[in-house]
Symmetry: C2
Subunit: 428 residues, 2 copies
């Protein structure tokens, strides 16, 4: 078990009420007396305690780290310091994106606890997509979130000393990075106790992936990039379970996996979850084709996310490039501007290729690794589910190994539509 | 001026003797009484005080950081913390390479002072190469130094938590990195007060480089890699002035620019200085062709450095890969081994391409930037010198922009021989 800092204790509804009562601004926000507050532990994530607190005047969310993985228990220790990194990342994201993340009301380092804005009537995006809900403003919001957080923490925006200080500040978040390194970049490609998949239907896929040299080289290159590319501050776990939203308002939550890593990892995470949702629709629609319009929305949004991100990132580069990379002195005059404009396109093309690879890694881990998505898990018929999953795997494998065949989002869209019609052979 | 830590004071011969007398093991090593010691300030580097101390029984070197750049004076402040990073890197290099670096006898963080092994009769390698001295064991030694230090501090050897701790530990050495970022990756390609070159002979070259869009894109890509690729612990300033040697013994000194960066930067630094030395021979030989055998040795050594490094790095990867990158679990059995062997070759090819680019950057900065090499500076006839320098610039420009045309050291050797015969047009 991790050494606990003096003063740390896991709170429950009773002790939390006492704690919050002593925080005047929080107590005022809730209103009334602590006896009038309702406190509900709602933690449906895998790692932490999450309390919803309501009072006569308003509500707050309280998130507290436990010294172990909540889902697994004390057998899997996990340092409380993740609350420190989450708070640091959330503060930075708030500064950079305003209301695209929850407001922080209070942070307690000793208790590894954050009191923040209660988002209502927001729901977890993944649940909304399972229900077939269209979010017309999501692409705009998430592309802004990605562009603002990635650009402003990169060498294009920061001087090297500030960037290195940020690298240093996040360099201790190794336990959370390790989860990613193992569960995304390693386990799905080897025999590992924690792996699980729809069996026996996907047994042949799991076995083939474990013997696929091209795929294992490709995932290892991505892992090396994850380990050694200090490009920008990442959210680090940016799937549709880390988004709470309404049709009008989008918020990104839970950045406890934050560190300085390759930008494509965050962008790829969002796009991977859109592809998983796309392929899962066959398991959720009332009758074949009933979700076709929703499928169209998913794929159109997939394209809009990249295009929105790309346009915004480039606009920031053109107007706010105060960092040490690509110094403006070197690209003066019309010729210099034209040359730099061309280089920006090359940069985005390179970032897209990274994004395709990381998206593929995120897709595969959700089918063959430990942590699955309810998009697929909630499909009760194992054969229907396995068919969806086999499509996810087959597209992802091709994206990872043949990233060059997908030079733009449109190529992925076309392949997704193709594989969605494909009847995959299943085991068993 | 940088804030000085309490207790810091710059030492002189008198105060240094008093200081050393109180360090029993050092005093014992010197022997006799302090009155019997001779202390000489020999700092011929640009940044620090360096004292040679001799006693009846033995000698030591004392290196003390000043709160400014020695060469320039108090107008250019530079933090004392560089001694901290130098000590940390030197300790690590000593652990990894044994007697390829000086032994550390004492470190004083407050005084920013390191007492270390006196190397005698070693001389600075650059001076030896100007004199035409052959060092038959250098390639073997430096390729070992590069392979051991780069491999063992990379993700191939370290688990991610240890690697990130190292990144964090060096993340404060920003002032020294900034010197590199400005003087190597930026200034030579723009009008900058500190730039100098042999004028008017090289004026057309300097002007052409400042207007060369391809070159400025290429140097900017290298700069971005320097800023964001956390591959391994670098020496950070590995030119032939950071090597002291005899024909039998090689030592690498002065790692105060150490940080976690792209491996090709260190390898490229060594190779760049060999190419500069090669082109400078025309300015040092007694009669045309008198140094032809020495030229052959330089170029053969150039090849041997890369080939030795490559073979040793690969051997370490094959036998000591305990890091998180390319996990062995994923490459089991004869097929897995064959696939990983192929990937290792691809990795080395990629590293070679980086090396070619960084070598080119190091060559250009020594001709058009602030800090020149005595290899070229000591050529008194400005026209002869400019001719050598124009050859350095022309090969380097092609290496940087067309790195793909130099897939192996042999291609650079052939180009170097070609340009050595070329009569460059000069300005003025």
């Amino acid at each position: 078990m991790t050494d606990l800092p003096a003063g740390y204790r896991a709170l429950d509804a009773k002790t939390l009420a006492d704690y919050l009562a002593k925080l005047k601004p929080i107590a005022a926000r809730l209103g009334g007396s602590p006896q009038a507050w309702t406190i509900e532990e709602v933690g449906d994530g895998n790692l932490n305690l999450v309390f919803k607190v309501h009072g006569p005047a308003g509500g707050v969310i309280v998130k507290q780290a436990l010294p172990y993985v909540r889902l697994v228990g004390e057998a899997w220790p996990l340092p409380l310091s993740r609350a420190h990194y989450e708070h640091m990342a959330l503060s930075e994201q708030r500064r950079l994106t305003g209301a695209l993340v929850p407001e922080i009301y209070h942070y307690d380092e000793t208790l590894a606890l954050i009191v923040m804005e209660l988002l209502a009537p927001h729901i977890i995006m993944r649940r909304g997509m399972i229900a077939g809900t269209v979010y017309p403003k999501f692409a705009e919001a998430i592309s802004t979130f990605l562009a603002e957080t990635l650009f402003h923490t990169s060498d294009l925006a920061l001087t090297a000393d500030v960037k290195k200080a940020m690298i240093g500040a996040f360099s201790g978040n190794t336990a959370l990075c390790k989860i990613t390194e193992d569960l995304i970049f390693t386990d799905p490609y080897r025999i590992a106790k924690l792996n699980r998949w729809t069996s026996p239907q996907l047994d042949p896929y799991a076995e083939r992936f474990r013997g696929d040299g091209d795929l294992k080289v490709a995932i290892s290159r991505l892992k090396l990039k994850f380990l050694s590319s200090a490009e920008a501050m990442l959210h680090g776990d940016l799937h549709t379970g880390s988004v709470m939203l309404t049709p009008d308002d989008t918020r990104v939550i839970d950045p406890e996996f934050a560190f300085i890593g390759p930008m494509g990892f965050d962008i790829g995470a969002v796009l991977a979850n859109f592809l998983i949702s796309f392929f899962s629709q066959a398991g959720h629609e009332e009758s074949p084709g009933a979700r076709d319009a929703y499928r169209d929305w998913i794929l159109a949004t997939f394209v809009a996310i990249w295009e929105g991100f790309s346009a915004k990132f480039l606009a920031l580069w053109e107007t706010q490039a105060k960092g040490d990379a690509y110094p403006s002195d070197l690209f003066q005059g019309p010729l210099g501007a034209a040359r730099l404009a061309g280089e920006r396109q090359a940069y985005m093309q390179h970032l897209w290729a990274d994004t395709v690879g990381f998206a593929a890694a995120k897709m595969i881990r959700r089918v063959l690794g430990l942590a699955h998505n309810i998009d697929l898990e909630w499909i009760k018929d194992a054969t229907v589910r396995a068919r969806c999953e086999a499509r996810v795997l087959t597209l992802a494998r091709d994206m990872m190994v043949n990233a060059g065949s997908y030079p733009a989002p449109g190529a992925i869209i076309r392949a997704a539509r193709h594989f969605d019609q494909w009847q995959p052979p299943l085991g068993g």
